[in-house]
Amino acid sequence: MGKYVLKRLVYIVIVFFVISFLMYALYNLIPTDPARAQLEPMRQQLKPEEYIRMYKQLRKEMGLDDHLVIRYARWMGIIKGLKGKFDGLLQGNFGYSQTFKKPVVQQISEPMKNTIFINIFATIAALGITLPLGVYCAVHKGKKFDTTVQTMSILGYSLPIFIISLIFMYFFVVRWGIFPLMGSKTPNATYEPGSWEAFVDKVYHIALPVIVMTFASLGGMTRYVRSSMIEALGTDYIRTARAKGLREKVVIYSHAWRNALLPIITSILAWFLGIFGGSVIIENTFSLNGMGKLYWTGLNTLDFELVLAIQMFYTVVSLIGSLLIDLSYGIVDPRVRVNK
């Protein structure tokens, strides 16, 4: 198991560097010139040749003429920066946000908490519903309940999440007035941050987004759980187990369920990433102060240091997700540990 984990860890670190390099290269496609921007106010007072000399010097100082790989390594913090010390992403320097006029680290700390909060909430809620529902449908397949769930689940994964949000907004906000329409806290609220009221207010505001996210992921997951469970129930060892006279509960939950879990875990990875990606839409639709909303703002204002930092966040989330899946695979399926 230890070797297996180590292998996965090394692999993930490599992927992280590959993706971050790709992102950095992509970011450098944008035609911007910070040296020129910095010199522009002085242009009128300088002679042309002096201006060119200063411009060249500044470019050298800022390291703009260096090779892309060197600049990337500096930004990442693998080699020494221009000031002679390691100061990059790995040291916790995420850059400076031009839009918000403060370091990116400060800007993203609050939204990151919110995003992780709603995503974990939605994941737990969705898993809590889909796993039992899928298993129940598989065991009672072909019955009326199963057919109804099957038909309904097509709705769930066919509709884009923003349409589901609009429908839920119409009923829960406009019609019944149960939840607030937007925002992550009541405007002009007087409670102290960190108090019980603050928590309740936060939950009140994120309730509807979480419900929408949960609902949107029900369809696909239920179908997946059901089909892998059916697959497992159709195998020979289940027939053997039944022939042995084992109780149906043992057959389903001990024999079939454990084998059905493998494909389910793989699909949970894709789904978990989808939820994080989908939270961009949810946060924008509900105006939640989260990473997705910040990402959207950063892209719209071309604040690329901010965007790059958030993109790295998404990458890390997806890599950690895949690592977790790999590990749980190892725990669930002993064969994985032995073979790799």
Binding site: M23, L159, P160, F162, L166, V173, V280, W296, Q311, S318
Partner: protein, 623 residues
Amino acid sequence: MSKKMKNNTPKKKKRSTLARWFRQTVLRKHDIDYDNPEVIETPLKIVAQNFFAKKTAVFGVVVFLLILLVVLIGPYFFKLNLGEHEQTLIHVPPSNNMMKIPKEMHGRISDIAPGTTFGIGVDVDGKVYSWGHTRVTERIDLKDIPDEVQEADLKMIAAGMDHAVALDTNGKLMVWGNTRRSQARFTPDMEKAQKSGKNWNIVQLEAGMQVSAALDEGGYLYLWGNRSNFDLGIKREYQGNIAKIAFMANEYISLLKDGNVAYTGIKGKGSPFSKIPDELLQGKTVDIAATDRTCAGLTEDGKVYFWGRLEKGENEMPEIDSKIIKIEGGRFHYSALLENGNVVSWGNNDYNQAKAPAQVTSGGNVKELYVGNFQNYAILENGEHVTWGLSGFPLGTDNFGRDMLVRIINGGRVTMLVGAIAVVIATIIGVILGGLAGYFGGTVDIVIMRISEVVGGLPFIPFAMILSAVIGSRLDPTQRMYLIMIVLGILSWVGTCRLVRAQFFAQREMEYVTAAKAMGIREGAIIFRHILPNVFSLLLVSMTLDFATSMLTESTLSYLGFGIPLPTPTWGNLLTGANNSIIIQQYWWRWVFPAVIFGMCTICINLIGDGLRDAMDPKSTER
């Protein structure tokens, strides 16, 4: 008899394959010979039978084909105008009643005032009626006619953009609707004239954008309303000398009693409308009319002269075989009544307002003509009425006054096209990489699977957003559409690749591959010409399901503003900005209709994909 038999028998046998297929799959009647039970059916036939046995799948096919047909053919009939912006038609709900005169008024019409999206009329008893979309602001509805107007015996009526003016037989002037912009604030000289009755024998009532005018028989003109956007005044030398007036969008012109046309507003020579054609200054003008930006004058000999900003074909008058006796202007078109009782319309025809029906162009029995905005009402000799022009929008309009139906149909075409091409790109990449990985295995397989893990591990929506933002900022809208197709294709091939790889692993051990290898066929040919056709059925299923996913992704990107940019419509960006309570509740047609048709489309594609998968999967029948 025998001849007949001879003719009949071969006919029965010759039932075409298509008809047989139809009988078997749709009517579910089988030509099975029960004496000989071992009927061998081809796999394709079984798949088709399984597929069409599923009601949901058949429903999906039918509805999807209908939507596809509408989206493919519709744009030729509902042409998209990207620069469209019509101030007076913003947020009109689904309607079809803008020219629907109430039954009580039929045959008894005495005056009609066509407003922007509504009409107000008076019958011969002086009773007032309203129809069409009368809600002019959130709170104000012109349908709520005040009691004093309802009870009065009305003589004349006029409708502006958001208010209405009525005059009763006693000379009492009443205003209702939006009165916040001094639409009901009468000038002091009007109050005086109304009280004394002197110079208060009103012969013409006009209303425009928050302004109104009343003209006295003696030539006195009274103007009131919102002065900020309108040249609402009269030069003293013209007062008492006016025979008729016509409203443009922000100005008005007058026909004087001496038969000349004059710009009588305060702006005088400063207005572009003061350059009146010489022919109308000969004292022979009999009628004037105006659209939003142009004016027309009619002379005694029936000739019409135009001036102003003639940009929408307002001066493109057709050949006329008779003399014009009366001319009326809408927002961008004119209609004229001829001496022989016919009507001609010309000018902008966006809403069919310049396309008069044959009944009035050649019927020769039109008595009266009322024209305004985009509507025309012709009253015939026998009291019946004929209408043409804008009758409403079946799916409402958006915040620029654009027809939602047109935008939904054209948006569907863009969304489907982008989705389809993205799937084709993804499938090509996935098949090539998956095929190579699955057939060769080993190092090739490991490299390709690692690449696919990286691509599959990228957070999809954020990554597509950054690609679109970084590369797309330098592109024009059409190039950006191609960019989105490519981005979606490049990011979504992983699933196909894995599927093809798994299939190839299974297929390459089969005997036919060994046979092909033994015959010395090149490996490329084995992969693509021998193995691929065997994988094709599963590929078709995954393509169908991916098509729905691609459409969803495109619409999501467009919804967030990183897909296809406005004003090009797609099913995603039609919903951009719909997430506020005003649109959700009051302008519900802006999100309900796109959401419904888009939802239907993706649901149907998924139903088809599901049905296909179940039909091809031999296990599904066992389940």
